[in-house]
């Protein structure tokens, strides 16, 4: 069975973490799904790198934050906030591709 991230998450958002980094938060609706996704390691640097077509080295880490049932990923901004060529000074609208990310649940722990 496949699930879309938008159906299992309560919050999916992006924002600057300082002008040089973009950070993505995914807050899950249910503990069970959060646990399954975290334990499977399916939400990883590679997934973010592929989704945004960026170098895996520019994804700084995937952090789980238990108190919020959340996974966080941070990445290098291709263009620093507000510099020439930037399209999103606050970084608040870079989350959209995540909504349609699908996970195959079968075979996950």
């Amino acid at each position: 069975m496949k699930v879309k991230l938008r159906d299992i998450a309560e919050v999916i958002r992006s924002k600057n973490s300082g002008p040089y980094e973009l950070t993505i938060d995914i807050i899950f609706k249910e503990w069970e799904m959060f646990d399954r996704i975290v334990k499977s390691g399916i939400f990883n640097k590679q997934l973010i790198a592929d989704l945004y077509d960026i170098d895996e080295n520019d994804v700084f880490g995937i952090v789980e934050f238990l108190p919020a049932k959340a996974i966080k990923a941070s990445m290098r901004r291709k263009i620093v906030s507000g510099s020439i060529g930037d399209t999103d000074v606050y970084g608040a609208q870079q989350h959209a591709p995540l909504l349609d990310v699908e996970f195959e649940l079968e075979g996950l722990i």
Binding site: S17, P19, E21, Q94
Partner: protein
């Protein structure tokens, strides 16, 4: 049981708050009113140009209520990152508003704390190899320091405590680590700094940490010996463990270790508990003081001058080959000014295609029936930018692309004039750490006795 109450009226000074929520907060007899007045989020322009991103009338409205509340209750009011970016020009802008409000009350003591750092100080640290870039930030050169229009450092709680000890009724400070304005009085009164700063991290955005969230409503924080509690001051909202924990993540890369000028807020043992229907209690947060305190520097420099033109396209034949058309226009501009004007950047933002995400956009082909196009020219001078934008606009308007049927014009302009001369464009030049130095954040006292 000793407790201290901290009232946070709004997420950013000037964003407003319902007076009912504020009055409710005041009726609970807070020990301090604190507010964050700025951010780097709106980009480098405001620091570079010395202008506030918040509106003067809106800031005056908020400050009028806060100053009256603080003076009536004889409690301090603390404002951090005055004027949006917290350099001296922003600080003066905010102090001027305070002066207008308290005009005729010469006995009010207003401390004004500068966060602007002289270039000599930064050069000296640079020469010692003491300037450290933050993650993802490039190294700097002496030229970057030289070209920065102004440089600020983020202060921690210490200068606020010093001003409070000196009897300040109101403190208006330049660039400040956001949680510090909320944590200063609790830390001075010897509450656990980890809890005080963590509470500040939540209060700095006021009701953004509540649900439904709002940046324009009041929040209360109460700190005790081994916990703190936060709750919104409007009955329309509540704090839930999720809303508060989620806010701890906000705008941070590592949610367990939050770095600041005084040390690290360590959340590895933090517990969030629903205290009652609309309050959340937090415990277990620790503080790891820095062995060698570092302050974060921020600077911006002029990267050029910008002119933009806004237009729309509705022709499906044109939309289908938009990338090709834009490339041709770029080439035409380059050829026309070869040897005359070569140092410029011409960029197109194409809304309906990838205007929001640019290179990060995974959907490469537009399915939109219309496009919004911003012709974005940046040159070494305003004149250069005007020239490039104007030529790109006229070329694109009449360009005879392949398969064109509509021969009268390719663009719909919503405005006359079509081109907007925006002025200087800034970029961040400094986002680095440097060791704290004694006397870095100087405290002055506002002159408010007009008769003297």
């Amino acid at each position: 049981m000793r407790e201290m109450k901290v009232l946070s009226p709004t997420a950013i000074l000037g964003y407003g708050f319902p007076i009912e929520s504020f009055n409710r907060g005041m009726s609970m007899n807070p020990d301090v009113i604190a507010v964050d007045a700025g951010s780097t989020d709106p980009g480098p322009y405001y620091l570079g140009a010395g202008i506030s991103f918040t509106d003067r009338n809106a800031v005056k409205r908020d400050l009028t209520h806060m100053i009256k509340g603080a003076l009536d209750h004889k409690i301090p009011l603390i404002v951090g990152t005055a004027g949006g970016s917290g350099a001296d020009v922003h600080l003066d802008w905010c102090v001027d508003i305070v002066r207008e409000i308290i005009d005729g009350k010469p006995d009010v003591k207003v401390a004004v704390i500068s966060a602007e750092i002289s270039k000599e100080q930064v050069y000296a640290a640079y020469d010692r190899g003491d300037i450290v870039p933050l993650n993802a930030v490039p190294d700097i050169s002496r030229t970057d320091i030289k070209n920065s229009t102004r440089i600020v450092a983020q202060m921690g709680v210490a200068p606020f405590i010093e001003a409070l000890d000196a009897g300040a009724d109101i403190i208006i400070a330049g660039r400040t680590y956001d949680p510090a304005v909320f944590a200063a009085l609790p830390v001075k009164e010897e509450f656990e700094p980890g809890l005080a700063l963590h509470m500040g991290k939540i209060l700095e955005c006021a009701c953004i940490a509540a649900t439904p969230g709002s940046g324009s409503d009041c929040m209360m924080g109460i700190i005790g010996s081994d916990y703190f509690k936060v709750f919104p001051l409007s009955e329309k909202r509540k704090c839930t463990t999720l809303s508060v924990a989620a806010h701890t993540l906000y705008e941070k890369s590592d949610p367990y270790m939050l770095h600041g000028p005084d040390g690290i807020i360590d959340l590895t043992a933090t517990k969030f508990n629903q205290a009652d229907e609309n309050s959340v209690a937090v415990s277990g947060t620790k503080f790891i003081p820095s062995e060698k305190p570092m302050v974060k520097l921020e600077g911006a420099l002029i990267a050029g001058y910008r002119t933009v033109s806004i237009a729309g396209a509705r022709d499906p034949i044109m939309i289908n080959i938009i990338d090709e058309i834009l490339e041709t226009v770029k080439e035409a501009v380059k050829t026309n000014f070869a040897g005359l004007l070569t140092d410029y950047k011409l960029d197109f933002k194409v809304y309906g295609k990838n205007g929001v995400m640019g290179e990060l956009e995974p959907i490469k082909r537009t399915m939109s029936h219309e496009l919004g196009i911003i012709i974005d020219a940046v040159g070494k001078s305003q004149e250069d930018a005007n020239t490039i934008c104007s030529f790109a606009r006229s070329t694109m308007l009449h360009y005879g692309y392949n398969g064109r049927i509509s021969t009268a014009g390719n663009l719909a302009f919503p405005y006359s004039p079509s081109d907007f001369k925006i002025g200087p464009v800034y970029e961040f030049s400094l986002y680095h750490l440097m060791p704290y130095e004694e006397g870095m954040f100087e405290i002055k006292w506002m002159e408010n006795d007009h008769e003297s």
